[in-house]
């Protein structure tokens, strides 16, 4: 790890500071908020996929749990939104740990299959439990209040999300270049080598899976409060794939790649809106082309080309 990896963080913070003053209107501010939310989720997911080498195809499910915890608990039970958010995160963490533990005891990458199933189950449950969740129509989410101060307009949300993103980037960079992070990368590089130096592989895989699931859940809650509405699409399988795509396009095992991936793929549907009905096809084509020409993802490929490499 080079000493200058934190320079990127300063750049990110600088961009986040300047952005609201240069964006022409609220449409772009909204886009920026959603980009930042996705970036945090993708950062967590990249720790799992890029650094630890484990694939989750059900992260939207965890996002859905967080989002619905923030919708259902305050609406039906009168919980404080922050408490609901915490409860969603804890529930997600427990669920993720329960699923991951037996899976990681198996040799081979079965996590993708298990999370695929789990994500679909969560999404179906949200659709079917209409008396709590509003079913396929979704439900409104009460506003998030912080210490008597209500988060209402996009500007306020922007700053909250910008801080969350900056902290997440900082924490991810710290984590990667630590004993914990090295163990994670080592078990990706060679599982048996990491075991013989004492890494408890199952424990580390479970830990990072739970961490990334909790990230997704928390950001699901944030999204729910920000948008003011939740629908089962939050937990949709396609959304999971979208998140994985952000990781892959931006660059696996690259913190800044996660940001680039999230920004690009959040903006892409807007840019493709002119293709009316063909967005998904164009989306797929872009994915395929980037896999063929940039198999390592955007940021690592460009870093190797223009810098001394990462």
């Amino acid at each position: 790890m080079k000493k200058n990896v934190y320079n990127g963080l300063y750049l990110v913070i600088a961009i986040l500071l300047v952005l609201p003053f240069v964006l022409p209107n609220s449409f772009y501010l909204d886009l920026a908020v959603r980009m930042a939310i996705n970036a945090v989720i993708v950062l967590g997911l990249n720790l799992l996929i890029g650094f630890a080498g484990q694939i989750s195809l059900g992260h939207a499910g965890f996002l859905g749990i967080g989002a619905y915890a923030s919708a259902v608990l305050p609406t039906h039970f009168g919980w404080h939104p922050l408490l609901a958010m915490g409860a969603g995160a804890v529930a997600t963490g427990i669920l993720a740990a329960l699923v991951a533990r037996p899976i990681f005891k198996l040799k081979g990458n079965y996590l993708a299959m298990a999370t695929l199933g789990l994500g679909i189950i969560i999404s179906i449950a949200l659709r079917n439990e209409a008396q709590w969740t509003g079913g396929p129509d979704g439900m409104p989410v009460p506003a998030m209040g912080l210490f008597g101060f209500e988060l209402s307009n996009d500007k306020q949300w922007y700053w909250v999300v910008a801080i969350l993103l900056s902290v997440s980037v900082w924490a991810s960079l710290n984590l990667i270049d630590s004993p914990f992070g090295r163990a994670l990368r080592a078990l990706h590089g060679s599982e048996v080598a990491s075991q013989v130096v004492g890494v408890d592989v199952v424990r580390y895989k479970v830990a990072i899976f739970v961490l990334s699931a909790v990230f997704a859940s928390l950001m699901g809650s944030v999204t729910a409060h920000y948008v003011g509405f939740v629908s089962p699409n939050f937990a949709d399988f396609f959304h999971s794939i979208e998140l994985v795509t952000m990781v892959v396009i931006g660059g696996m095992a690259s913190v800044y790649g996660s940001l680039v991936g999230a920004v690009l793929l959040t903006a892409l549907p807007q840019a493709l809106a002119t293709f009316e009905g063909w967005e998904t096809v164009v989306f797929g084509a872009i994915l395929m082309l980037s896999m063929i020409f940039l198999p390592k993802g955007l940021v690592p490929t460009l870093a190797a080309k223009f810098g001394k490499g990462e």
Binding site: M1, W170, A171, S172, N174, L175, D177, S178, P179, F180, G181, R182, A183, R185, A186, H188, G189, S190, V192, A193, S194, Q195, V196, V197, G198, V199, D200, V201, A207, L211, A253, G309
Partner: protein
């Protein structure tokens, strides 16, 4: 009491009896070599002792404690280190990070402290980096400190594995063909390196095909053939053993 005691160790893969009723003891502080023709079960024996495989029958004791059936990471806690015949280097990391991973158990692995960049953790990491650089120097890789692992030559990676194993500060180190695929000059360097490791007080168990190196380094030698113990003794005893000569050169030699 010997450091490692192996008794009646066997493992079967389906019908294949890869290791059969092998017993031996290794005293602390020696260089102990395991030799035998290809397929004799040497690497399987290593995998059994280091927890990669679980034995079908038999027992393994480290310092009197039964360790068979324990996982590799549990053995690492007990000071057992190893290298691999087919390289197991983390190519997604830099050379020095590979060595630093070796010190895993000696570090604070707390996730939260790591994410929040606790100063103590950072300080320890900087010390560790210096320590790892010294180890790389010790194995003759000083010039590769800032290199990515995937940019290094085969011979260098072999030694990088040894540096990683040494970063554990092991009591017992298993070296699986450290000189395989190396040129004569590199082989001599590895020969010297193994001697240096043994002199530093680590018990060395060596699998190697280079007989000159084995005879030169070993205090005792175990000969395996078709998964069975053929002979055990000092280099001189092994060299004269008629069974060993027959196994290596053919029955009529």
């Amino acid at each position: 009491m010997s450091l490692l005691a192996v008794k009646d160790l066997s493992i079967h893969f389906g019908g294949v009896k890869a290791v059969q009723n092998v017993s031996f003891n290794i005293d602390a502080g020696i260089v102990y070599s395991v030799i035998g023709p290809n397929g004799a079960g040497k690497t399987t024996l290593f995998n059994l002792i280091t927890g990669v495989y679980k034995p079908t029958t038999g027992e393994i004791k480290l310092d009197g404690e039964a360790i068979h059936g324990k996982s590799p990471n549990e053995l690492a806690v007990r000071g057992v280190a190893r290298t691999f015949q087919n390289l197991q280097i983390c190519m997604n990391m830099s050379a020095i990070e590979n060595v630093m991973v070796g010190a895993h158990l000696r570090l604070d692995r707390n996730l939260v402290k790591a994410a929040l960049r606790f100063p103590g953790l950072k300080k320890r990491d900087r010390e560790l980096r210096d320590e790892a650089a010294q180890l790389m120097d010790f194995v003759g890789l000083a010039q590769y400190v800032d290199t990515r692992a995937d940019a290094m030559s085969y011979g260098a990676l072999k030694r990088l594995e040894i540096a990683r194993a040494l970063a554990m500060k092991p009591r017992l180190i298993f070296l699986d063909e450290p000189a395989a695929g190396l040129n004569p000059k590199e082989t001599i360097e590895v020969d010297h390196l193994v001697r240096k490791i043994a002199d530093s007080g680590v018990t060395v168990v060596l699998v190697e095909h280079d007989m000159k190196m084995v005879m030169n380094l070993s205090d005792r030698i175990l000969v395996l053939d078709y998964g069975k113990k053929l002979a055990e003794g000092t280099g001189e005893e092994i060299r004269k053993n008629p069974d060993v000569i027959a196994a290596y050169l053919g029955a009529h030699a």
